[in-house]
């Protein structure tokens, strides 16, 4: 149904708006003089409120109204965005997240009464918050009047720049509102300028401006799920509104199309709000819904001018790039097909060698070129800026810092670096782990930092950059660094390091990634249970990445994560075992070792091999596939790491390197965890992609079960 579709669209849009709201709130204290920032933050709440109302989620719209009112007060100068106000707004944003997610599941939530009361009291200026130092506290408003609105000329509140339209790229959908400036002295022939309404007590207030608004919405508004009554309510909130329906275009009942909207309205509004603010009410009329706003009893000195079109290279606002929402599954399907096409066109290149192909040679070359470009372009569609991941972290740090009594500034760079969206989605948890680690273990309290001659405010820098064909993400703190002596002592005590390990041994730093390792003597709220960094390492390995650290005691620690640009395409080794071919991701293979049956390095009845003094247990791919035929005299050993130990996977032959576009396996195929996907080779055959980690785990589990039953 159309309404379900609008609801789905709302839930998608709401997530983006809530992210924008949070990002705006995080900077509110530092940027309270930045009008554009205040407007953007306000607009996120305003758009969310309006969108919720439009799809009938009046409870969410009502709650958001209080958030919007506070933000309106801040941008109007009537409220100072101190720490308590921002914390309350962030709490409200978190609740809205929960409420929206619940609605998406078909559930409802109950607004927390304490939070609602606090929002209302802050909006009304009755909460014990800091008063504005420069602007008098906003006067308590009657129910007919909205909050005082900034944006007007403070020296001449009755004068509003007639061309001060809302820029389309300032968050939210672009509006298409026709604003006609009507000269009250010389109206156009088809305009009607009725006699001014008698002034009421409120309208006589010289601070108020009177407008006449002709609202003639398009007939399809109801079918599109837009509720014009919400707009009328919003106008009422802006001032004293007298609303008269226009029933002229209402046909007789026998001619009425009930699904069409046949109503219009004339609204006489006395308000202190700016024209901008009035126009914002109609933000959701993305068709030219014909709203005419006329200021009553005002001389307009200039006729309406068309907005100048931006010139290429002109200074000023840059138009936002057009964006299209695409279903993720459809995108993946498109990428898969583009990959197949690239493989097929590669196959066709063999035709160049045939006689008589001359006239088609150029076409074949073009086909190959276009096929590869199509594959590369569709792969590029999966790439998104890391910004959408990094923007979550300032809030995380803020909350952690509050709880631990530390002062931390967050710096983010390289946020436009692009990564595969699947990697972005799966990187959030490990990065939050590392950030918690930095706050809990790395960064000191203000007093500790002062004792060490450091600034009281610690710095956490999160950065991303390209390094060759990889992306490097760094989480760097200027805290106390690793206590190497403590790590060495704990590592030896836990049996993770040999007793003779020296202070400078390079293994000392890496031991913190071992399961169960922690230097904390007490388990804190944030961390210290020793279940953090090994999980981080495994998660990043699952993304075919690596994580390392560098630390200087007393100065700080840097965690470095290196990741492939995309998971959609892998560099792989093509291997063969008993006639079957598989692709093994290069990222899972440390090295390849050729072995023969009479190699002296064999150990334990050929169940292990000694490689450069290291005992490496073996997993036979033949045996893992249930093949009983003996292995060939010569095999290749793929050395990989599993739980910090080297393991060798024996295959019959290495056939070469491939660049493979990965395709997911259908769930209906059953439990195929040892395969991470499939790909199509150059000869058109389908080849499964092995996950060596799972293969080794399965072999270990079989061995353990065998030992248990022996």
């Amino acid at each position: 149904m159309a309404h379900d579709r609008f609801l789905s669209m709302f839930f998608e849009e709401a997530q983006e708006l809530l992210q924008a709201l949070e990002a705006g709130l995080m900077d509110l204290e530092a940027r309270q003089d930045d009008r554009a920032h205040l407007d953007r933050t306000f607009r996120a709440a305003h758009t969310l409120k309006g969108a919720a109302g439009m799809v009938g989620l009046t409870s969410i719209a009502g709650f958001t109204h209080d958030v919007e009112a506070i933000l309106d007060g801040i941008r109007g100068g009537g409220l100072v965005p101190g720490a308590e106000v921002i914390s309350t707004l962030l709490e409200a944003k978190d609740y809205l997240n929960t409420a929206v997610e619940a609605q998406a599941r078909g559930e409802t939530t109950t607004h927390p009464a304490r939070l609602v009361a606090k929002l209302k009291s802050i909006a009304a200026g009755t909460h014990g918050v800091e008063e504005s130092r420069e602007v008098p506290r906003a006067k308590p408003q009657s129910s007919a009047m909205g909050p005082s609105e900034g944006g007007q000329n403070q020296e001449n509140p009755g004068v509003v720049d007639p061309l001060n339209a809302v820029p389309a790229d300032e968050g939210g959908p672009a509006i298409s509102v026709t604003v006609l400036e009507v000269d009250a002295q010389n109206p156009p022939a088809d305009a009607v300028v009725p006699a001014p309404l008698p002034r009421t007590g409120a309208a006589a207030d010289p601070g108020l401006v009177r407008y006449r608004i002709e609202f003639s919405p398009n007939p399809d508004l109801l079918r599109r799920g837009v509720n014009p009554l919400g707009m009328l309510d919003e106008l009422r909130e802006l001032g004293q509104a007298e609303i008269t329906p226009n029933l002229d275009r209402m046909p007789p009942l026998d001619e009425l199309t009930p699904e069409d909207l046949h109503l219009g309205w004339t609204i006489e509004l006395a308000t202190s709000a700016s024209r901008d603010r009035i126009e914002e009410v109609f933000l959701f009329l993305d068709e030219p819904g014909q709203v005419v706003i006329e200021r009553i009893e005002t001389r307009i000195s200039e006729p309406s001018q068309p907005k100048p079109q931006p010139q290429p290279g002109a200074r000023g606002k840059i138009a936002a790039p057009a964006r299209v929402r695409v279903d993720a599954e459809q995108l993946d399907a498109l990428i898969g097909m583009a990959g197949e096409l690239a493989v097929l066109t590669d196959t066709l290149q063999g035709l160049h060698d045939l006689e008589g192909v001359g006239p088609w040679s150029a076409t074949l070359e073009s086909l190959e070129r276009v096929g590869h470009r199509l594959r590369d372009t569709t792969l590029e569609l999966r790439m998104v800026p890391v910004e959408e991941l990094f923007l979550r972290f300032p809030r995380v740090v803020r909350d952690l810092a509050e709880r631990s009594g530390k002062k931390i500034a967050v710096a983010i760079t390289g946020e436009d670096t692009r990564l595969d969206r699947t990697i972005i989605e799966r990187l959030s948890d490990p990065m939050i782990h590392l950030i918690r680690n930095a706050v809990d273990h790395g960064l000191e309290t203000p007093d500790e930092r002062a004792d060490r001659g450091k600034p009281q405010i610690g710095t956490l820098t999160i950065s991303a950059s390209y390094e060759g064909d990889r992306v490097a993400i760094r989480i760097e703190d200027d805290g106390c660094g690793l206590d190497r002596a403590k790590i060495l002592k704990k590592g030896i005590a836990a049996g993770l390091l040999p007793p003779e390990t020296t202070f400078d041994d390079p293994r000392v730093g890496g031991v913190i990634f071992e399961p169960g390792f922690s230097t904390r003597d007490e388990v804190g709220e944030l961390s210290g249970r020793g279940v953090g960094l090994d999980v981080v390492r495994n998660a990043i390995r699952g993304l075919r990445g690596t994580v390392t650290l560098r630390s200087v005691e007393g100065k700080g620690t840097t965690f470095l994560i290196r990741l492939p640009l995309t998971l959609a395409m892998i560099d792989g080794l093509l291997v063969e075992s008993d006639g079957d071919r598989f692709v093994v991701p290069m990222g899972q293979v440390d090295e390849c070792v050729a072995i023969s049956a009479d190699d002296p390095r064999w150990s334990m009845n050929r169940r292990a091999l000694v490689v450069r003094g290291e005992f490496v247990p073996l997993v036979s791919l033949r045996r893992a596939m249930g093949r009983d035929e003996p292995a060939p005299h010569r095999q290749e050993l793929l050395l990989t790491r599993h739980a910090e130990h080297r393991v060798g996977v024996a295959v019959d032959r290495l056939l070469g390197r491939v660049q493979a576009v990965t395709q997911p396996l259908a769930e209906s195929l059953g439990d195929l965890r040892r395969y991470s996907g499939a790909t199509i080779l150059g000869d058109g055959s389908i080849c499964l992609i092995l996950d060596l980690m799972t293969l080794v785990s399965e072999a270990q589990a079989r061995h353990t079960a065998h030992v248990a039953t022996a």
């Binding site: 109801l222 009328l232 008269t244 029933l247 046909p251 009930p258 109503l263």
Partner: protein, 86 residues
């Protein structure tokens, strides 16, 4: 009476109008109401008044009254609203 039900609502009112005389709509227990449903009632009242007849809305529920006020239609319908649902 919402967008989903306004089609059948229109037809039943048309049938009532065709009978002549005062159009009497008993709205007791009706609801929910939205703008589409209100629009049907407005068109019905306008049609009947255009024929110099009377329209009466009996036992009007609160939800309908609220909607009428939101839409600014109180003056238009005030002459026709005869009673509110208890």
């Amino acid at each position: 009476m919402t967008l989903a039900e306004c089609g059948p609502l229109r037809l039943s009112i048309l049938t009532a109008i065709a009978k002549g005389g005062t159009l009497r709509l008993d709205l007791a227990g009706s609801g929910p109401w939205d703008l589409a449903g209100l629009q049907v009632v407005l068109a019905a009242v306008k049609t009947v008044r255009g024929q110099n007849r009377t329209a009466a809305l009996d036992r009007v529920p609160d939800v309908f009254v609220d909607l009428v006020e939101k839409a600014g239609c109180k003056d238009f319908l005030s002459g026709s609203i005869r009673g509110q649902d208890a």
